[in-house]
């Protein structure tokens, strides 16, 4: 960026290109550029260096509207349901969340709700072992809702602080699998009226505009309380979360920065916006 000169068409085009390349999407980019142009007309910003500040403040504000932290249950285990499309990083993100809570001296239990994919239960089991926590699992092919039920049952009897439930990857376009999610959600609700206290959608930061559709259809099946944006250690910027916040009012709560269980951070809108426009 060449800072410190008057706003001009070339500058705006460059900004537009950056936003699109960051997967912000065409509509949201247009909206932002128009907001900049009208602020410029209203003389709120006169210089180029003001533009970037104005834009960053605008974006930061949008992304911090709703609470970005996890809402914990005050009396009883907090039930966290983890969902998302195939390969988005659900199982690994659960390990990260579990590790995060164990560091806070919380008692964590895992529910191996992916009873479909090859070695899915084994994968989560290895993580549970590494972190030093318990896991509730059934055989491959069993009903995931039954696993969820048993997991919460175990959390109640063992007085766990946190119970995190893994689910099989699924496409938002697979109606029967969306129904399966609803069933899992309802089973959790039956066991503990407020459950699931958090439903986290794992979104792969490398995904493009389809992420918005994913968020729409997943939240139609189970209301989503937050996004865990994984694989942000790559070169993708994850700009789609802007549109998701705008259209669906779903906040980002965590980001994934690698493959180890320490590689997670709480969402920081300022850092995110800086990286988006870097």
């Amino acid at each position: 960026f060449q800072i410190g000169r008057k706003i001009d068409e070339a500058f705006l085009e460059d900004l537009e290109e950056r936003l699109i390349m960051a997967d912000v999407g065409l509509d949201t980019t247009k909206y932002l550029i128009d907001a900049l142009k009208s602020s410029y007309k209203d003389k709120e910003i006169k210089e180029k260096d003001q533009i970037l500040t104005f834009l960053k403040e605008n974006l930061k504000e949008r992304l911090t509207q709703k609470g970005n932290e996890l809402k914990l249950n005050e009396d009883g285990p907090t039930v966290i349901l983890v969902i998302g499309v195939n390969g988005s990083g659900k199982t690994t993100s659960i390990a990260k969340l579990a590790h995060h809570f164990v560091q806070q001296d919380k008692k964590v239990l895992l529910g191996a709700g992916d009873t479909f994919r090859a070695a899915a239960i084994d994968q989560l089991e290895i993580w549970a072992e590494r972190i030093g926590i318990d896991i509730v699992k059934h055989k491959m092919g069993s009903d995931p809702a039954a696993v969820a039920f048993d997991a919460v049952q175990a959390a109640l009897s063992r007085e766990s602080d946190i119970i995190i439930i893994d689910t099989a990857g699924r496409l938002h376009t697979q109606k029967n699998l969306m129904k399966e999610l609803q069933k899992i959600h309802n089973v959790l609700k039956k066991k503990i009226p407020e459950a699931p206290h958090e439903v986290l959608l794992i979104l792969d930061a490398t995904i493009g505009q389809n992420a918005i559709t994913q968020a729409e259809l997943f939240s139609a099946a189970t209301p989503i309380t937050g996004i865990f944006l994984s694989k942000l250690d790559g070169t993708a910027k994850g700009g789609v979360v802007l549109a998701i916040q705008n259209q669906l009012d779903i906040p980002v709560k965590f980001i994934g920065l690698g493959e180890k269980c320490e590689d997670m951070e709480a969402f920081d809108s300022e850092q995110f916006v800086d990286a988006l426009l870097s």
Binding site: E17, I20, M21, A22, D23, G25, L26, V85, N86, G87, S88, G89, F116, R117, A118, A119, D122, Q123, E125, I126, W127, R130, L171, H172, T173, D204, T206, I207, G208, Q209, N210, A211, T213, K231, D233, G234, T235, A236, V240, E259
Partner: protein, 303 residues
Amino acid sequence: TLSNKFYDIKNNFFSSGKINEKNIQDGIKAIEEALINADVNFRVVKGLVKRVKEKALGEELIKSVKPGDQFVQIVHYELVELMKSDDEERLPITKDLTVIMMVGLQGSGKTTTCGKLARYLIKKGHRPLLVAADTQRPAAIEQLKVLGKTLGEQISEERGEDFEVPVYSAPQDPPPKICKDAIPIAKENNNDIVILDTAGRLHIDDALMDELLSIRKKTKPDHVFFVMDSMTGQNAFDSAKIFNEQINIDGVVLTKLDSDAKGGAALSIKEVTGKPVKFVGVGEKLDALEEFHADRMANRILG
């Protein structure tokens, strides 16, 4: 939707029946928007619409009776031209022992595709050996073993006689050694294909990209497939570019096309690497692999 856009293009922009810079520019803008929304990389879109504009302004469009139809046809044609490859055979097997190497970013579908490719090749009369060279991801080896076992059972059932899909693993060895050791094992075991499943990695991870290069040097693969998630956004361009620059891929498998993602990444990858998409993944089961067809992909991207 995009088909609405095309309807608009045909009916609004070219409804006057006259062709001029203005309505071609409107059509171009609509195409640009459609392609960006379909996750085609910004840079690729710019190059593509430039070619469309040149063609549209040329003799062809001016003379045609239905200019709107002609314009859409030009766009479709350019997309197909870009993505098609002249290979009839998607995966030519010509040697006594063929090595296939699967690479890509985390979670793109490599391990599952190894199983699918094994099934595809078994149906063509081959005997593949699966190699579990991902020693990093928890239960990655187990995952490939389960797939091998499941596939063996499926084929045995279909053929009415025992068929095994062996999986070679050596969790204590580094991946390049595992891959290298698999080759004499395949020969010994009378397997004519070796499929190497590698760990997902970032194109910006130098150490892991070097590891891939080391595997390549040690095994001299006949086919290196870059496995990419079809929902990938703008990032498809950079990751494909760097994977290709560093280890020279031969072809691409685009996965999860059973979703409603437009798959614009397919265009970006071909444009930046010149390497064709050979197969597409259309589901989680082992038979969910199809050969890539450029015209079908063009239709999908254009809505």
